[in-house]
């Protein structure tokens, strides 16, 4: 745990130290850092205005999907399949929710850890999915929305393919390395 605490300490220091470095470097290059900061910062709200409608669309979809019972139905279909392959059924709730929502996936993950134990196979696989699969649909909506791109060609299928590969590998690597 000590090594972990050290790494976590370094990671907490990264941003402040980086800011300090940027400001000092700027001053040595005779940049008016305050004016420079403000002139860059003025575009911030414009970006938010552009992504806001996309955020609303994504959030109402994710929330309704969970509240309607559709998420539970998808889970129960997957869990009946997973028992044939010796995969803990909880893994599939993780696999379905992680690409959709970051905060919802933290909730689902915490629930899995609490109900099946922190060192269970279900928890370990879910943990690897948490760390290695991104909130794909959120990233797609926000990043594409911010610049107004509507035609995405084969981007969405490639991202979904990468998620499926990631989830499969999470199951394989945990079973192979930890159990």
């Amino acid at each position: 745990m000590n090594k972990l605490a050290l790494i976590s300490g370094i990671s907490q220091a990264v941003i402040p130290v980086f800011f300090l470095f940027v400001i000092i470097y700027g001053i040595t290059k005779k940049v008016r850092v305050y004016d420079s900061f403000v002139s860059g910062a003025k575009d911030g709200l414009g970006i938010i205005m552009k992504i806001f409608p996309y955020l609303v669309a994504i959030f109402i979809a994710v929330k309704s999907f969970q509240a309607s019972g559709a998420f539970d139905a998808v889970k129960s279909v997957f869990s009946s399949i997973s028992s044939h392959f010796m995969i803990p059924p909880e893994v599939f709730s993780m696999a379905v929710i992680k690409p959709l929502s970051g905060s919802a996936s933290i909730g689902v993950f915490t629930d899995i850890v609490k109900t099946s134990g922190p060192d269970s196979q279900a928890s370990m696989i879910s943990a690897v999915i948490m760390g290695s699969v991104e909130t794909t649909f959120y990233v797609l909506a926000v990043y594409l929305g911010s610049v107004g791109i509507k035609k995405t060609k084969h981007l969405v299928p490639v991202c979904i393919f990468a998620d499926i590969v990631g989830i499969t590998l999470a199951i394989v690597t945990v079973k192979w390395l930890l159990f």
Binding site: F65, V158, D163
Partner: protein, 191 residues
């Protein structure tokens, strides 16, 4: 995205009808709009902060140092971006933020990178290859130490929460290679 969004919404509403949960879904939709407002307010501040900091990086010429350092890697991946273009800095900083698990720095820098990549895009509302590549790199989420996850495991009494680090790195690196490889393969096939 059109298909996916429509399917999720339609499935949700049909399930709501079947389960008699119209009230819950109506409430969920309003909760969704509230969550969107909260997230964008939260993002507004940090995007502004990072845009300010990266402007200092550009004005002081630090951008050239950063892009030179990472040029060998990014020149191979992003061949159509001119050297010293500001997008290289944003892409680099976004990838570093992802790598160190600094989630709230990664999104603002990613949005800045998108804006700059879009300025090089000649196809208007169609995603360019560079934009697709950048998004795929982001959704692959290569991360050194997943702190949030380890934290939750440790809190709940895991014997060895950092055991997941190695499988997580292996998984994300291989899936990133797969995704980037697919993107290049599709481009080759389409020519």
């Amino acid at each position: 995205m059109n298909v996916i969004w429509a399917v999720i919404m339609a499935v949700s509403i049909v399930f709501a009808a079947a389960n008699g949960r119209f009230d819950a879904v109506t409430k969920a939709m309003f909760d969704g709009t509230k969550a969107a407002v909260e997230v964008s307010l939260y993002l507004a501040g940090i995007i502004t902060l990072w845009l300010g900091v990266t402007k200092i990086i550009e004005d002081s010429g630090l951008i050239h140092k950063i892009s030179h350092f990472f040029a060998p890697l990014f020149r191979r991946l992003f061949r159509n971006i001119p050297p010293d273009h500001p997008s290289i800095t944003s892409i680099t900083l976004n990838c570093l933020a992802n790598f160190f698990g600094l989630g709230n720095a990664a999104t603002p820098l990613g949005l800045k990178a998108m804006k700059e990549l879009q300025s090089l895009n000649t196809e208007g509302e169609t995603a360019s290859f560079e934009i697709m590549l950048f998004i795929v790199l982001n959704t692959a989420s290569i991360q050194l130490i997943p702190f949030t996850v380890i934290g939750i495991l440790a809190q709940n009494g895991s014997a060895n929460p950092s055991a997941i680090v190695l499988p997580t790195i292996i998984t994300s690196v291989i899936s990133a290679v797969f995704a980037v490889g697919t993107l290049f393969a599709v481009r080759r096939l389409m020519r």
